[in-house]
């Protein structure tokens, strides 16, 4: 449904994105994860036909974004980063206007449904200018859903929402993602982890990693880590655990009597650790796994990229 090949965009001499290649299928929710200024918005603007790429090509819903821009735009629902709304219109008027531009059939009914989808029923006739930021975000989302697009492109869809609304919007996106293609950008890692089937980590205009959130975590974590706390000194505990088979590294934890143990990949050392501590006559107080979070993966990946890559043969 979305197929990007070597997308590159220069703003003047500055490359915003460089050779992005990725794809997204129907029924997939793909997350664009990256720090601010990584090129997420630029990529989305190209995919929605707002601006052409400097080089490379992209097909959305089977149409070329450059050659068949109108066809693409008919099939895409887009929520830009700064939600574009007309404050002097009511929610219903605004959606009716956008729907008429998109030639939506049975407009009135669809507007009603979209309003229900984002749970704005009670504010449908309020002026947009009087709505809170969270509600405006939902109006923008309703606008993107209105014409039942095959592809939804959402730029930071949960920004500015309160926690309850965030959960609600994520649930809605997951619902929508079942039969459509959703590409969303976020810099909230837990969001990508929860909502997306696949995550593209983008940094300085390039994709640095691409996989399911689980795989990304596993791939970079490599080893399992344990936090062990016992009624003993850290040094004593370290010495004891370091001798165990399968233990790769033991580091002192935050408190005395607490250590962090990493194991070789795929080895569950928890029973061994527990037994060793007890057999040494110490009281085991705590034993828990510390999974490496996507956050750490993300930092690791984006920091590796800090050294400026060679520009190569890209023309401005």
């Amino acid at each position: 449904m979305i197929e990007a090949k070597g997308l590159t965009k220069f703003y003047g001499k500055h490359p915003a994105i460089r050779g992005l290649t990725f794809h997204a299928q129907r029924g997939e929710i793909v997350g664009f994860l990256g720090p601010n200024g990584a090129g997420k918005t630029t990529t989305m603007r190209i995919l929605t036909g707002y601006m052409p790429p400097s080089s490379g090509s992209a097909r959305v819903a089977g149409f070329d974004v450059l050659e068949q821009s109108l066809e693409v735009r008919r099939r895409v629902g887009y929520l830009p980063e700064t939600v574009p709304l007309y404050p002097e219109m009511s929610v219903r008027e605004y959606l009716a206007f956008m729907g008429s531009l998109r030639h939506v059939d049975e407009l009135e009914q669809r507007v009603g449904e979209a309003i229900e989808d984002v749970d704005l029923g009670s504010r449908a006739d309020s002026f947009i200018g009087n709505l809170s930021k969270g509600l405006r975000q939902r109006v923008g989302l309703a606008q993107a859903l209105l014409h039942r697009p095959e592809v939804l492109i959402l730029d930071e869809p949960t920004i500015g929402l309160d926690p309850a609304q965030i959960i609600e919007v994520r649930r809605l996106i997951q619902e929508l993602g079942k039969e459509r293609t959703v590409l969303l950008s976020t810099h909230i890692l837990s969001e990508a982890q929860q909502v997306c089937n696949r995550v593209l980590i983008i940094n300085r205009g390039s994709i640095v990693a691409e996989d399911t959130p689980e795989n990304l975590q596993a791939q970079l974590a490599g080893a399992e880590r344990l936090s062990v706390r016992a009624a003993a000194g850290s040094a004593e505990l370290s010495g004891l655990l370091r001798a165990l088979p399968g233990v790769r590294e033991v580091r002192p934890g935050a408190h005395d009597g607490e250590v962090e143990v990493s194991s070789a990949p795929g080895v569950d050392i928890r029973p061994r650790v527990a037994r060793a501590v007890v057999e040494a006559g110490l009281d085991l107080l705590e034993l828990r796994t510390i999974g490496i979070s996507l956050e750490e993966v993300f930092l690791q990946l984006t920091q590796e990229e800090q050294a400026p890559p060679v520009a190569g043969s890209v023309d401005a």
Binding site: L70, R73, P84, L85, P87, F97, L101
Partner: protein
């Protein structure tokens, strides 16, 4: 084409919820009404009312249109840019020229509405005088006004595409329009200047004559400015 109507309708109705449009209309009709009243009073005082419809749609309308056009067109595109809604319109399945044409048409509708109300003055004059006013001249003068308004609005639309702040677009539009008026008006300037300027082309309408060359002048100016506006929007995408 359907999109053009949708955009034009929204633009047109937008004028009626903006206080600025009411201020402009108030100003427009206040001055016109005063001019009409004064010329009638003068006519009565001298014992003869000039049976000439141009008393209201003459130079006074010119000055008024010159003053209000920049405010009518300033927000057309500039405001969409300021609010970020241009991104919405440019990612909707709307062609760039449909957007420009729709916006312009909406503003054209608004000024046509204002102009249509000014019919009451010649109508009153017609009732008050014997044998009434020269309707041929009146129709020609109005036709010229409509064409002039179309061209002025197209210029305003073009300027509006260049700015992301409406209040910056307004004075620039005013200056451009003023230049075109001055160019055509100064009899000492070259023939070229008079051909480019507004005035010479309007004078014939004012005398009750509709010339193809004058109609072509206003129409081509309108089309050219709208075409350029579309190009500016397209260039914006490539930026």
């Amino acid at each position: 084409m359907r999109n053009v109507w949708i955009l034009a309708r929204r633009e047109f109705t937008h004028y009626f919820i903006s206080p600025l449009a009411y201020v402009l209309s108030f100003f427009f009709f206040l001055v016109l009404g005063l001019v009409f009243y004064l010329s009638l009073s003068a006519g009565i005082a001298f014992g003869q009312i000039e049976p000439d419809g141009r008393v209201v749609i003459g130079w006074m309308v010119w000055i008024l249109l010159l003053a209000i056009t920049p405010f009518v067109t300033m927000r057309l595109i500039a405001d969409e840019q300021r609010m970020g809604t241009l991104e919405l319109l440019l990612t909707a399945p709307v062609r760039d020229w449909e957007l420009i044409l729709g916006k312009w048409l909406g503003s054209f509708g608004f000024l046509l509405l204002l102009l249509s109300v000014t019919w009451v003055y010649p109508l009153i004059l017609h009732r008050m005088t014997q044998p009434g006013i020269d309707q041929g001249v009146l129709v020609a003068a109005y036709a010229g006004l409509v064409l002039l308004v179309a061209a002025m609005l197209a210029i305003g639309t073009l300027v509006s595409t260049l700015f992301s702040n409406p209040w910056a677009a307004a004075p620039v539009t005013a200056v451009v329009l003023l230049c075109l008026v001055i160019l055509g008006n100064a009899s000492a300037t070259s023939e070229w200047a008079r051909q480019v300027g507004f005035f010479q082309h309007y004078q014939t309408f004012y005398q009750g004559v509709i010339q193809v060359s004058d109609v072509a002048y206003y129409l081509s100016l309108t089309v050219f400015c709208l075409f350029l506006s579309t190009q500016v929007i397209q260039a914006r995408r490539w930026r």
